[in-house]
Symmetry: C2
Subunit: 154 residues, 2 copies
């Protein structure tokens, strides 16, 4: 009952964790995401959620998507912006963002620096939807959202 495995402790150093696989910065040909890496910090059959860390290089961005499941996000490194529905918000380390069901959302490293966030999500969840051309046009009808997507935020 009192034995522990070394893997129970994972030291942090320079935004990596021991024994946690780091999926390197990568691009998606469809531009759905850019310059983003991923580490899964907690994932276990006994845990009903996973905790992941996503990190973007300057100018990088997470996938613009929506889904039935909810996200609980904590900004973890650097400053950037978040799109949540029709709201564009500057965010700073350790700010919280609750992403409700079916709301379009994306994070962008808009401040010329590395930007990362923790994301808590149900282990069992639906697949994200990507925006159609019509969805993008609807989002772009809002000038601030268009500036966010075009990386022309002031």
């Amino acid at each position: 009952m009192t034995a522990t495995e070394p893997a129970d402790f994972r030291d942090f150093r320079d935004f990596r964790w021991d024994a946690v696989e780091h999926r390197p910065y990568k691009e998606d040909a469809s531009a759905a995401f850019s310059a983003i890496s991923r580490q899964v910090l907690f994932e276990a059959p006994a845990l009903a959620c996973e905790l992941r860390y996503f990190e973007m290089q300057a100018g990088g961005y997470s996938t613009l998507e929506r889904h039935q499941h909810m996200h609980g996000v904590m900004v973890f490194r650097g400053y950037g912006h978040c799109l949540l529905g029709s709201t564009v918000r500057a965010v700073a380390p350790f700010d919280l963002v609750r992403i409700p069901a079916w709301i379009w959302h994306q994070f962008r490293a808009t401040r010329g620096e590395t930007f990362g966030f923790l994301c808590m999500v149900n282990r069992e969840r639906d697949r994200p939807q990507l925006p159609t051309e019509a969805d993008l046009a609807a989002l772009r009808a809002n000038a601030e959202v268009a500036a966010f997507l075009d990386e022309t935020l002031r």
Copy 2:
């Protein structure tokens, strides 16, 4: 589909979050915990886990307990020590500790400074067990564990 509520964003400042209830530092007469506060960062019916932030003043400690459910912990503020089964470990900001089922565990602010951690836990979970006198004696059979509990760690 694109409306957002102000409560979706919760700014961080000085280890508090906007619109998050802060349960102040408190003591337990039985010494099960001491000088620890609690904030629930994410909790929703649609999320299968909760994310909480616990913070101890210097010398404070979390409840020594065990339970069937698992904890995923990330140290968030300051340096301290963690007891996990028969292991006593110094921990630093952003280190991860996975606490398996039925393992005795406790966090202590052993470094003369405020010490805090994030804890991800299933929304549906069993009640923690507290140690009996016999359990405590078994834990104290390990000299390092005894020093941890007695606050005499070097």
